[in-house]
């Protein structure tokens, strides 16, 4: 591959991911609306929100770290997208691998912690404290799942994982080979998205949306962009590990949306867990299921 092609891919991959992510935000809000017997937002609503937030006249910044934190939050995901193979575009996925991707997926949370820290709003501090605890909770099963998958395929290279799964058909997909790990992975995905049972760090009525409490204008817009990236990254990673990646664009997008629809549909049926309950739940059930799955994989 020559340099020009690589550069084009590096620009195109985050952009495509962002567009798919906007669709995912729309799907999430539509599902929520339908479950509550509402009509839901119009088709371009996620785009309207982001354009409006960036077009605010007054921008309240609380200092340099506040701005840099948002850049880190978006930038971490932009970097992660270049490591996640898409149909026909690999970017730098064969050089990065799964471990690098895992690290990059933690950068946004840390960036937000930095940015929120400078706002000096107690609600924000409480929120980010809870968010980092939640990260601690879901990262343990996440690591177990990633370890099991890497062991099964004998590599941490996402491109070769996709090749193995696509060469052998459905019977070699991660979800048929390691169903227990796939189940634990879905649980982890739900925690990672911060959707309803696990959204105590956002808690609009109690701590005024936690980390987002002081964000306005383009800072909030950055977080909206981050959210669409986050939905895409989590779904695409799951599809890559367990559902054989994408043979073509249609299958890839359908798989991503289906994977995401599961936690999102479940989300609006439950009230939320407290932080310590979430840690207890995450360290008990997905870890248990994941360890049993790991035992089957490593036997």
């Amino acid at each position: 591959m020559n340099l020009t092609e690589l550069m084009i891919e590096l620009v195109l991959m985050p952009f495509v991911a962002f567009v798919i992510g906007l669709g995912m935000v729309l799907m999430m809000r539509k599902i929520a609306a339908r479950l509550q017997r509402r009509v839901g937002p119009p088709f371009f609503q996620p785009l309207y929100d982001i354009v409006k937030l960036y077009a605010k006249r007054t921008q309240t910044s609380h200092g340099m770290v506040h701005d840099i934190g948002i850049v880190m939050a978006v930038g971490g995901y932009v970097a992660a997208e270049t490591l996640l193979p898409m149909p026909g575009m690999n970017g730098i996925a064969d050089k990065g691998g799964l471990i690098t991707l895992m690290y990059l997926m933690m950068v946004p949370s840390l960036g937000m912690a930095l940015g929120v820290g400078q706002c000096a709003n107690p609600n924000g501090s409480i929120g980010i404290g809870r968010a980092l605890t939640a990260m601690l909770a879901y990262d343990v099963p996440f690591v177990i799942v990633v370890f099991g998958v890497a062991w099964h395929f004998g590599s941490t290279n996402l491109v070769s994982m996709i090749e193995i799964q696509q060469a052998g058909g459905i019977s070699t997909w991660g979800i048929t080979q390691m169903p227990l790990l796939a189940l634990a992975g879905l649980f982890t995905l739900h925690g990672m998205l911060g959707k309803q049972p696990f959204e105590v760090y956002i808690a609009p009525a109690e701590i005024a949306t936690g980390p987002m409490v002081e964000m306005s204008g383009k800072h909030m817009g950055g977080l909206f962009v981050m959210q669409s990236f986050q939905l895409y990254t989590a779904a695409a990673l799951y599809v890559t590990l367990f559902l054989g990646g994408g043979e073509n664009w249609l299958f890839f997008i359908v798989k991503c949306f289906v994977v995401l629809a599961v936690p999102v549909s479940l989300a609006y049926l439950f009230p939320r867990y407290r932080t310590e309950d979430m840690v207890r739940l995450m360290w008990k059930w997905p870890v248990l299921v994941g360890l049993v799955g790991l035992a089957f994989v490593m036997r």
Partner: protein, 241 residues
């Protein structure tokens, strides 16, 4: 000012498009369209009008199909919804909240109480006309207005935003002295808010001839700069815990 010809009339010539290019304003129009279709709403629900908002938001009338959704902090919000009467004490909080919001911002007064005091006209403790203290973009009259009326008012506001007719947030900057005069009349001369409105007006280039006046001069005499509270730990208390 009972004689009609004594009422001062302001007339600002609308800025005509300088270039003949019909595509010159496309970007502005797109942004105005997005603003009108995405409104985050902060509701200050002190009065009885708040009762009519849940049906307007939930499955019966569903505001989200118009792109309107509730937000919980002033920083994120576009609309400040004041539902019902504001007492002198709550009005202070409403003004603090309004000044923290990011422009362009819009104020909606719901119920008769915000229009002219309503049934609290004779009360000594309520502010009568919200328009005196904050630049109201849309009044939804009624006691209380039904959810249909609320949706209708919000749609009218959306249309105003789309055509660019609703820019009262500039009025607050440009005639700050007028609003501050009314606020000082109610709260006393030492009234101040943490937000530096004049500084913001200068920074964003929306300074008007009536931004500064005798009342802002009075404010500058009393204004104390905000200082962060010092964090202290009571070690003796911690030891006993």
């Amino acid at each position: 000012m009972s004689v009609l010809k004594d009422i001062p009339v302001r007339y600002e010539t609308p800025q005509a498009s300088t270039s003949g290019n019909p595509l010159a304003n496309v970007f502005d129009e797109f942004i105005r369209f997005c603003r009108s279709r995405s409104l985050f709403m902060l509701h200050y629900c002190t009065g009885c009008g708040a009762i009519e908002l849940p049906p307007a938001m939930t499955s019966r009338f569903d505001m989200e199909r118009l792109g309107i959704q509730p937000m919980v902090t002033p920083r994120q919000a576009d609309i400040l919804l004041v539902t019902g009467y504001v007492s002198v004490k709550t009005l202070k909080r409403v003004i603090l909240t309004y000044e923290q919001m990011a422009s362009p911002k819009y104020v909606i007064g719901i119920c008769s109480c915000t229009v002219n005091g309503g049934m609290y006209w004779q009360s000594y403790a309520t502010a009568k006309k919200l328009n005196d203290y904050l630049p109201v973009d849309m009044y939804i009259a009624g006691c209380m207005p039904r959810p249909e009326a609320v949706i209708e008012g919000l749609r009218a506001l959306m249309e105003n935003i789309r055509t660019g007719a609703s820019d009262n947030w500039k009025d607050y900057y440009q005639r700050y002295d007028h609003y501050l005069a009314n606020q000082q009349r109610l709260f006393g001369e030492t009234w101040q808010t943490p937000t530096d409105v004049i500084g913001e007006a200068k920074n964003y280039g929306v300074l008007g001839p009536e931004t500064e006046g005798e009342h802002t001069r009075l404010l500058s005499l009393h204004k104390q700069p905000l200082e962060p509270l010092r964090m202290t730990l009571n070690a003796g208390k911690l030891e006993r815990m």
